[in-house]
């Protein structure tokens, strides 16, 4: 199954490389990875998605804990987490079909980020599955280019955070 991990790491040169290298060398596959600043300038947060069995997940968490730059690793439980992603989608569209496409976009609260004679770029922020739906609906028009940031996530405001101490990981 797919797991979402939130990793706090020191904002130092090479820190991200150490994390991604650990995945590569131990044969774990990262599905998506988003890294950015946090409330502390010296700390970055990686949100990463990994498809693996429970045993592998524990091994991943423990191996990451051993990296000197890694401050905390926690798994974000689905349902107890707010997840968002940003997509930019460039869709081919003739002026005649624009209104119907804009209606679809409106339903999803997607913004028009740019407009050209034969294409437009939508900007959509939302839970990843909403982005999936929107992508699917606009695909028939002809998607020229598409980019997604990969999801970022935080535990819910009322949720409990459960970083597991290493000694009880097994």
């Amino acid at each position: 199954m797919t797991h979402t991990l939130s990793v706090l790491l020191e904002n130092k040169p090479g820190a991200l490389a150490r994390v991604s290298n650990m995945f590569a060398r131990r044969g774990f596959n990262i599905e998506s990875l988003a890294v950015g600043p946090t409330e502390r300038p010296d700390v970055s947060r990686i949100t990463l998605r990994v498809e693996c069995e429970q045993d592998s997940l524990e091994q991943i968490e423990k191996q990451m804990h051993k990296l000197v730059n890694v401050l905390r690793v926690s798994e974000l439980e689905p349902g107890e987490t707010v997840e968002r992603e940003l997509a930019l989608i460039k869709v081919t569209v003739t002026p005649e079909r624009r209104p119907e496409l804009l209606a679809v976009a409106d339903t999803f609260k997607a913004h028009v980020a740019d407009l050209g004679p034969e294409a437009m770029i939508f900007e959509l922020v939302g839970p990843p599955d909403v982005l999936d739906s929107f992508e699917e609906l606009v695909r028939p028009y002809g998607v020229k280019e598409l980019v997604r940031t990969g999801r970022i996530a935080l535990p819910r405001a009322a949720g409990r955070r459960t970083p597991r101490p290493q000694h009880v990981l097994r």
Partner: protein, 574 residues
């Protein structure tokens, strides 16, 4: 606080860490630091002939002393030549601090002369590394490097210092504390887990302690012995733990694995409780993992939480420093054992019976010198001495050394386990001798291994580090030949080295060492005796039977219980 150059700050840091010897070779990007050595330091610098040699010397030093080894090299090829020792230290958890020069900061990233991305190349094989581009960071980085190398699970670190950083001035003060918010190795043991483990041990009918190199790094020898004796527990020590528990102790139950004894492998595979202590279920120990110790409940003690459950599920995990864990466990087991009970005595009797039934055996007939006889003679010549440190290369000779030498003291058997680095033996012996000048350091090497790093004989001769190297010379890459014979239908592709080229005794003389040659058992003892007492660095070329194979053997991928014994025939028991 004193004003000085970065290069001097490196040396003052080494001095503050209590380093007494380092091993290295100068070159362009590390020259400012060697200039600082010329200005003066209390750290002895041993000049190696190849950076790989320097790295293995630092490893040998670390293994013999229990302190972190220090190797120094220049940028580019100097750094890449250290990659093998770093990988070796990574696999065997040897505390190693490597300091390399890097090109000037304004040249980093430009493919400058002798520039390589040293921290990048070593990324997967270090605990941590630092590229120092600001001299103000240097004291903190040095402090952190030693701290990380030695705490938690030991291992290698790399400090890559740009040349202009070495030349820059700094107000130096060595920090008292490290600032590493993300480095939190466990410092205590969970009491609940310990209690569970103690009850399982006290209740077990057929327990075995499966002891690995972690016990050596933890300096937990007395605590291990306490536990073994408290529970009457048979102790199997892996290659990396040879000597961590006295091999002549009645509870010692041999060495396991691919070329371990049948009795040790049987004990591990027929036990009902396997207590892994600082060991990692390596494939050379377990054989086919799914068939390994199938009926056993597993207690796994390790300072590295990631080892627990990595290969074998642990029914009772115990994470923490082994010294603490073993001491607490020993107390608890002693309390739980009934007064007067000597533990699982029927099980110990069973193991002793296996030991008697399946000793190491070899065929001593024939004209040629048997490699096992070389090891047995070395063992007998050094029997009862507490000042002997062995090192080995990798291959058949290493496995015979493991089988036939008897080590009763920790840190007396130094070898390359996880990485299997041919060429480890000679430089590791030089490093061990530097760590323990009063010890008799004997490298048991193969002819293939010896030729990979024998240039370090020059270091041994010139630095006053008289090691004795016994080349078990069978004229072949013997272990590879054995696999070709057994698994590749005797197609001996590219494994023949010959007994004669080079002439090892003459080569030794050329390097300023004493050289000896022996090719029969008649002169074996006197030749070895002579080499051991000559007072100089010495090499004994022991020309052995090229066809001798190492048994017992668990073929790769086979179940450990199906270990193959020495072929039937006229054999003598060891």
């Amino acid at each position: 606080m004193a004003r000085m150059l970065g290069s001097d700050a490196i040396l003052r840091s080494l001095e503050a860490e209590g380093v007494d010897v380092m091993f290295g070779i100068p070159g362009g990007a590390i020259l400012p630091t060697y200039d600082a050595i010329a200005r003066g330091t209390s750290v002895r610098h041993v000049l190696a002939r190849h950076e790989q040699g320097a790295g293995h010397m630092a490893e040998g030093y670390a293994r013999a002393s229990g302190r972190a080894g220090v190797a120094m090299a220049t940028s580019g090829p100097g750094a890449t030549n250290l990659v093998t020792p770093i990988a070796d230290a990574w696999m065997d958890s040897t505390p190693l601090v490597c300091i390399t020069g890097q090109v000037r900061t304004n040249l980093i990233g430009t493919d400058a002369f002798q520039e390589v991305d040293a921290t990048g190349i070593t990324l997967p094989i270090v605990k941590h590394s630092w590229l120092v581009q600001d001299v103000e960071e240097l004291p903190h980085v040095m402090k952190a490097a030693f701290h990380v190398a030695r705490t938690g699970r030991c291992g290698p670190v790399l400090v890559d210092v740009a040349k202009d950083v070495q030349e820059a001035a700094i107000d130096f003060r060595y920090p008292d504390q490290v600032d590493l918010p993300g480095w939190k190795p466990p410092h205590k043991v969970n009491a609940r887990q310990l209690g569970e483990a103690a009850r399982a041990i006290a209740a077990a009918e057929k327990p075995v302690l499966y002891v690995g190199g972690g016990v050596v790094n933890a300096d937990a020898f007395a605590e291990l012995r306490e536990l073994a004796e408290a529970g009457g527990l048979p102790v199997v020590t892996t290659l990396m733990a040879k000597g961590a528990f006295p091999e002549s102790h009645p509870l010692h139950a041999g060495l396991p694995g691919m070329h371990g004894s049948k009795w040790a492998n049987w004990a591990m595979n027929k036990c009902d409780l396997l207590i892994a202590v600082g060991s990692r279920f390596d494939d050379r120990v377990t054989g086919k993992l799914t068939a390994f110790a199938p009926g056993a409940q597993v207690i796994h003690l390790d300072v590295d939480a990631a080892e627990i459950g990595k290969l074998r599920h642990a029914d009772i995990p115990v994470v923490g420093p082994l010294k603490l864990a073993l001491a607490a466990l020993a107390r608890e087991v002693r309390r739980l054992r009934e007064e007067g009970s000597d533990g699982p005595s029927a099980w110990r009797t069973q193991i002793d019976e296996w030991r008697d039934a399946f000793p190491y055996r070899y065929d001593r007939d024939g004209d040629s010198l048997k490699p096992q006889a070389v090891l047995e003679t070395l063992r007998d010549l050094t029997a009862g001495r507490d000042d002997v440190v062995w090192t080995t290369g990798v291959g058949q000779h290493q496995m015979w050394a493991m089988q036939y030498l008897v080590c009763d003291r920790p840190r007396s058997f130094i070898t390359s386990g996880g990485l299997g680095t041919m060429g480890y033996g000679v430089p590791a012996a030089v490093g061990a001798k530097a760590a323990r000048p009063d010890a008799t350091v004997i490298c048991v090497d193969g002819d293939g291994c010896f030729q990979m790093t024998c240039q370090e004989l020059a270091t041994a001769a010139l630095e006053g580090l008289p090691i004795v190297t016994v080349v078990v010379n069978n004229g072949w890459l013997g272990m590879v030949r054995q696999w070709q014979e057994m698994f590749y239908a005797e197609r001996f592709a590219q494994t023949h080295l010959t007994h004669q080229v080079p002439d090892y005794a003459m080569l030794a003389e050329a390097y300023g060492c004493a050289g000896f040659t022996v090719d029969s058992e008649d002169r074996l003892e006197e030749t070895l005796e002579e080499a051991l007492t000559c007072g100089r660095a010495a090499v004994v070329d022991a020309r052995c039977d090229p066809e001798e194979k190492c048994f017992p053997m668990i073929p790769a991928g086979a179940a450990a219980i199906d270990i193959l014994e020495y072929p039937e025939g006229e054999t003598v028991e060891a």
